[in-house]
């Protein structure tokens, strides 16, 4: 039976994680993400899971990776400064191919910035924050409902591709309360990591299947293997051989890139005959959609495209749109980040308009209406 609740976005993230099978959380308090850890501290032990308030954000992700290596689904959550601290170990999880979900409830920055105000300025950090090449998967929920569903999907993708997956929430989405329908748990699609099918004696820990993803044993379940953040061969041991380095470097990217169309999610509204399109995500998309509804009633041919996965970015879809419309407007709560992707993909086929709000506030629908009317 599905249930109707009135929840805060952060609570929906935590409850989504539990529904996905998360049984370990490590974290450190920071506004505006703290409610996630508070809910986890209440609910995890009820389910026999483990919650740990660690000594800092680095330890939070480290413990999560450790728990994942020992077989549990694990999550950490933070904001601003805490997310910056986690970057080195995010890279560790990409390299060692350890599933973990990392939630970033975005606030204003750089540095301590604006602890209680909204921002979308970590979108490029999500893609490039840790050093070295890797493939990023990041969801941007725009409602309490989506906080729940994208967190479950994040776990599914982390388990499927054996790597970190990010939930890029923001202060408005995280703290907003609204109606949410909790689906019957029987109806949820839950993905678990592939386990080795061979005996411990025949186990080659990083030998990938055809999908590019190696099955994963857990410490303690009878398999002996080595985990390292050094570039390694199929056996998981450090290598200096150029062909092995290249193989690993390519595989951790291609295992995701090959399936980008499976991963990419987006939502289109009023797109059929649109001449102007607003591309927005997260909290901003709520104001944008409101503006578009009002203008549609006035006969303005404007549509909305909302990436749900920011990474991988819906490139093919944006390319198609850019061929059909005159203008794409990209309003963001940063100095222009996703617009860089849109400009690159549109490549002059239509006009791309960069709109930035970096004063800690959310765009009002009227402001977005003004942008549209200027072009209509």
């Amino acid at each position: 039976m599905s249930q109707i609740k009135f929840w805060q976005g952060n609570k929906a993230v935590a409850m989504g994680a539990l529904a996905a099978g998360c049984r370990f959380f490590g974290g450190y308090p920071i506004t505006p993400s703290t409610e996630i850890m508070e809910v986890m501290s209440e609910k995890l032990p009820e389910l026999g899971g483990k919650f740990m308030q660690m000594e800092d954000e680095i330890a939070g992700i480290a413990a999560g990776i450790g728990a994942s290596i020992a077989g549990e689904k694990a999550m950490t959550a933070s904001s601003g400064p805490g997310i910056s601290l986690k970057q080195e170990l995010l890279g560790y999880a990409y390299m060692a191919e350890i599933p973990i979900v990392v939630v970033n409830v975005q606030r204003g920055g750089p540095s301590t910035g604006l602890p209680t105000k909204v921002s979308q300025a970590d979108v490029m950090q999500a893609k490039w924050g840790t050093h070295g090449d890797h493939a990023t998967i990041a969801y941007a929920p725009s409602s309490v409902q989506e906080c729940y569903t994208t967190t479950i999907k994040s776990f599914n993708m982390a388990e499927r591709f054996r790597q970190p997956v990010l939930v890029l929430s923001d202060e408005i989405i995280g703290h907003m309360r609204e109606k949410i329908v909790i689906p019957d748990s029987e109806t949820l699609e839950i993905i678990d990591r592939k386990k080795p099918k061979v005996s411990p004696a025949d186990f080659i820990p990083y030998k990938a299947d055809d999908d590019g993803v190696p099955p994963m044993a857990a410490f303690g379940d009878g398999y002996r293997w080595h985990v390292t953040g050094l570039t390694s061969d199929d056996w998981g041991f450090p290598t200096n051989k150029t062909e092995e380095i290249e193989k690993k470097a390519n595989r951790i990217i291609s295992k995701v890139e090959r399936f980008r169309e499976d991963i990419i999610e987006y939502k289109e509204d009023f797109m059929e005959d649109a001449e102007i399109v607003v591309v927005s995500y997260g909290s901003v998309s709520r104001s944008a959609l409101r503006a578009i509804r009002v203008l549609r009633e006035q006969g303005v041919k404007v549509g909305h495209f909302r990436p749900i996965t920011l990474w991988p970015f819906p490139e093919r879809q944006i390319a198609e749109i850019s061929k059909k419309v005159k203008h794409i407007i990209v309003p963001e709560l940063n100095a222009g980040q996703i617009v860089l992707e849109v400009e690159r993909i549109a490549c002059g086929k239509c006009e791309v308009h960069r709109k930035s709000l970096i004063n800690g506030e959310l765009y009002k629908p009227e402001e977005i209406m003004t942008f549209i009317k200027e072009l209509a």
């Binding site: 483990k50 660690m54 330890a59 480290a62 450790g66 728990a67 560790y92 303690g220 953040g229 450090p238």
Partner: protein, 275 residues
């Protein structure tokens, strides 16, 4: 030559190891292997974790569940492993820089929680892997590539730090006493059921530290460690003046009833389920 049971714990395919010939770290690995084999810990239930450094390369050579993490962070990783599977025996090895500089915060908090992990600190008084920079245990007035005019920073006493932070088993040996290393390691590993244990093993890096401090040969260092270490029982009878410049070795603390963290967490689960 290592015993047969010890050899069976080695990933011989990955030998020779990366350590310089004569490095003190090998003596510690051998002692760790003798301890785990004598305790008859199954390889599948043994996790050897480490940070980054010459010392932290040890897990790669041991045929168990091995986890080579990031510089300073190993105890935080190991904490997650232990919480997810309290049945695993965890031996977490670190260098002095790894454990007390970049990883100092994780170290004191692992001590405070009293989580069932045996921490082994391979203290060679220097950053070996990066070429001989000063660490928090580089003695005052000695030389390092980042202390060319003599170090002035006071050092950490790792054992006192561990006791102050709440570890419940704390001991020290040097690589000049391999049998004592083995004995203390065995007790520390067995102590996991009671909580967090720390064994500081004073090692040496003749290549990076010794060379700049008149102890350029491996043997000079073994001799130095042997001549300057005193068993705790004897040290207890000596004056502060007599103990100047000496390392006290042996067991400093062994508390069995403080409550190991994963067991205490089981109580949390019981309380939550009742609530």
């Amino acid at each position: 030559m290592p015993r047969e049971d010890v050899k069976s714990f080695l990933r011989t395919k990955y030998l020779p190891h990366i350590w310089c010939p004569g490095c003190g770290h090998g003596i510690i690995m051998h002692a760790v292997l003798r301890a785990v084999t004598e305790l008859k810990i199954p390889q599948e239930k043994l996790c050897i974790s480490s940070g980054i450094g010459c010392s932290s390369r040890m897990p790669g050579y041991i045929d168990a569940c091995t986890l080579h993490t990031a510089h300073g962070r190993s105890l935080a990783f190991a904490t997650g492993v232990k919480m997810a599977n309290p049945e695993l025996t965890i031996v977490n090895v670190m260098g002095d820089g790894d454990a007390t500089a970049i990883g100092g915060n994780h170290f004191i908090h692992a001590c405070r929680r009293n989580i069932g992990i045996a921490a082994v600190i391979m203290n060679n008084n220097i950053y070996g892997m990066t070429g001989g920079q000063a660490s928090p245990t580089t003695p005052e007035d000695t030389f390092a590539t980042t202390a060319l005019y003599g170090a002035i920073d006071p050092v950490f006493d790792i054992c006192k730090l561990a006791i102050g932070a709440g570890a419940t088993y704390v001991a020290r040996s040097t690589v000049a006493q391999p049998m004592l290393c083995e004995q203390l390691l065995k007790k520390a590993i067995e102590h996991q059921k009671n909580g967090f244990s720390v064994v500081e093993i004073v090692s040496y890096c003749h290549t990076q530290f010794g060379r700049r401090n008149k102890r350029g040969k491996a043997f000079d260092n073994i001799k130095y460690l042997r001549d300057n270490s005193i068993m705790k029982a004897k040290a207890d009878t000596m004056s502060a003046e007599e103990l100047k410049g000496k390392m006290i070795i042996g067991e400093f603390l062994n508390i069995n009833n403080a409550g190991e963290y994963t067991k205490r967490y089981d109580e949390v689960i019981l309380r939550a389920k009742k609530a």
